[in-house]
């Protein structure tokens, strides 16, 4: 079978330090979301999934420390040589160290410290990568696009191994922005639910390690993927959902598989009115209305540049255990098109699973994992 093998992964979140720890919590229905009171972040209390300890030691920022912890665990569980010239490090983030702008006076030094290429360089030096890191910052599809980019680069033969890591942290900058959009839910977010009222932010780092080496050919693979743009509006999703559907259909076509062969869809499911409605329409338009769907935002909140990576890691673990994690927060369907939102733990043979995402700037992405 075509595709690039997934050989290791990690989720470093408020729920746990490894994919296994995280998956155990997801199976138990434990969420990382709680009511946070922190006047440095917001004058009012807000729901969020945040780390409860400080990260202010060492030469690395919190953003960099959670990435390093996530990558270290994923690297410990495989035999990839980071110093190999066939190994590339790909970083996904929307805002990186932007929290520094909340706390410090802007000058030339801070400019360098905020730049994503500075973080990528420091992390690459920490691990000893010899290739220049590749950085993707493409709103909320960053994580899915980073995985797809890795797959494309490995298939071209340029590299054999890719360490894809993504993270974002909760900052006043980002929280105030979503608050200004009236997009933050006053309760833990409720994806696809009739009473959903917006998103919950979260912070997490995630890592996937991919390889084109044939010795891993029995592993779960990234088989295909596609990106599209709505060409409609910067912050509101497409009214027709045709463009996300187009990315899904191209992904299936490139893998030569039919809609009925898709066993599960890991949705973006931010729990904003517009996103979930648009996604439901796109799923329906792609003739996948009976396929089980979940959103993990009720466990982690929206983790921005990490979301596509951690949600893929959970999907891959689901495929290993043949278990679908329910959509935390979902009770009653609240979208206009029929979609099969999972609300309880399901055991099901999972061979072909889709991960989808959409973001500001009108971008959409889909990626297919196969067993």
């Amino acid at each position: 079978m075509q595709g690039i093998s997934i050989i290791s992964d990690n989720i470093f979140s408020p729920l746990g330090k490894t994919t296994a720890e995280n998956f155990a919590h997801l199976k138990n229905g434990s969420s990382g979301i709680e009511l946070i009171t922190n006047s440095d972040l917001s004058s009012e209390s807000f729901y969020s999934s945040m780390f409860q300890h400080d990260f202010n030691n060492g030469n690395y920022t919190k953003f960099e420390q959670i990435l390093i912890a996530s990558m270290q665990d994923a690297l410990n569980n495989c035999d990839i040589n980071v110093k190999d010239k066939k190994t590339i490090f790909i970083l996904s983030s929307t805002k990186g160290n932007i929290d520094l702008l909340d706390k410090k006076v802007y000058n030339e030094e801070l400019k360098e410290r905020i730049a994503l290429h500075t973080s990528a360089k420091l992390i690459a030096e920490h691990f000893g990568f010899i290739n220049k890191p590749l950085i993707i910052s493409n709103a909320c599809i960053s994580g899915v696009l980073a995985i797809l980019t890795a797959k494309r680069l490995l298939e071209s033969g340029q590299y054999e191994n890719a360490i894809i890591a993504g993270a974002d942290i909760v900052s006043k900058f980002v929280l105030s922005g979503f608050q200004s959009f009236q997009a933050i839910s006053s309760q833990p977010c409720k994806p696809f639910d009739a009473n959903r009222s917006g998103l919950t932010l979260g912070e997490t780092a995630g890592t996937l390690i991919l390889s084109s080496d044939k010795k891993y050919s029995s592993n779960i693979k990234v088989v295909s993927g596609s990106v599209s743009n709505d060409a409609n509006h910067l912050s509101a999703p497409s009214r027709t959902s045709e463009e996300l559907s187009m990315a899904i259909q191209k992904t299936l076509r490139n893998a030569n598989i039919f809609e009925r062969e898709i066993d599960f869809i890991s949705a973006h499911g931010t729990a904003t009115l517009y996103n979930d409605e648009m996604e439901a329409k796109a799923i329906s338009l792609s003739k996948l209305e009976s396929t089980p769907v979940n959103s993990l935002k009720g466990f982690y909140g929206h983790t921005l540049g990490a979301a596509g990576i951690i949600e893929s890691a959970v999907t891959i673990q689901s495929m290993r255990e043949n278990i679908i994690i329910p959509t935390k927060g979902f009770e009653k369907i609240g979208v206009s098109k029929p979609v099969n939102i999972c609300d309880n733990l399901q055991k099901k043979s999972l061979n072909n699973c889709l991960k989808i995402a959409s973001g500001f700037g009108g971008c959409n992405a889909a990626i297919l994992f196969s067993n």
Binding site: I98, K111, Q158, G177, Q179, S226, G361
Partner: protein, 208 residues
């Protein structure tokens, strides 16, 4: 791998706009924001959305208008086959600084939406109805090798048939935008889409 070609390119820097090596507009001694507006007026661009854009989007959008003028991409390609792959060093920091100022008073959603570098891709897509592949890469310096590699993969895997790629950066009063139109057929210019040509065009005005 099949060869691909640069069929047009546009540079905007130092108060000058070039297309395919020809100087189309120049002015002197004005700040970047005023330059974007004076170029907008000079080229008779009529697009009210321009006024609400941040500087990164104004610059990228202006350069894309000049790059694509007379190219009639829609006659040659389906909208889903036209990709946009851009890059810069400081993402949306220019607007991040502006947004950060508004937090002290009333956070502005109209400014916040521009605090992502790929918004300029969204603006170009909305203007032209382009619905294909997108990517925004961050690199400390212009990375011609990455653009060559990634865009060639998009072509060879049929993920797109035509692509606008390049660099667009604004920070305080510094700016530079270099956009390339890449296609499978040679058309007017005889410029292969290879890293050396990208670098030569990117650095064409470095001494000037």
């Amino acid at each position: 791998m099949n060869k691909n070609f640069i069929t047009a390119y546009c540079i905007a820097e130092n108060n000058i706009v070039y297309k395919n090596g020809l100087e189309l507009y120049a002015t002197e001694g004005i700040l970047s924001e005023n330059f974007f507006l004076s170029a907008y007026n000079h080229f008779n661009l009529n697009y009210p959305k321009f006024y609400k854009m941040d500087n990164l989007s104004k610059l990228g959008w202006l350069a894309s208008e000049i790059l694509l003028k007379d190219e009639n991409l829609h006659e040659h390609y389906a909208s889903e086959d036209i990709g946009i792959v851009l890059s810069n060093a400081n993402a949306s920091l220019d607007t991040d600084l502006n947004y950060s100022e508004t937090i002290k008073d009333i956070p502005s959603p109209a400014v916040f939406v521009y605090t992502l570098p790929n918004i300029v891709i969204g603006e170009i897509s909305i203007r032209n109805g382009f619905k294909g592949e997108n990517a925004f890469f961050i690199s400390e310096k212009f990375d011609a090798a990455l653009l060559e590699q990634y865009v060639n993969i998009l072509f060879s895997s049929n993920a797109c048939q035509s692509c606008i790629c390049g660099w667009t950066e604004t920070l305080e009063d510094n700016y530079k935008c270099v956009l390339f139109l890449v296609e499978k057929e040679k058309r007017n210019l005889n410029l292969e889409f290879i890293k050396d040509n990208l670098e030569a065009i990117f650095n064409a005005n470095a001494e000037g």
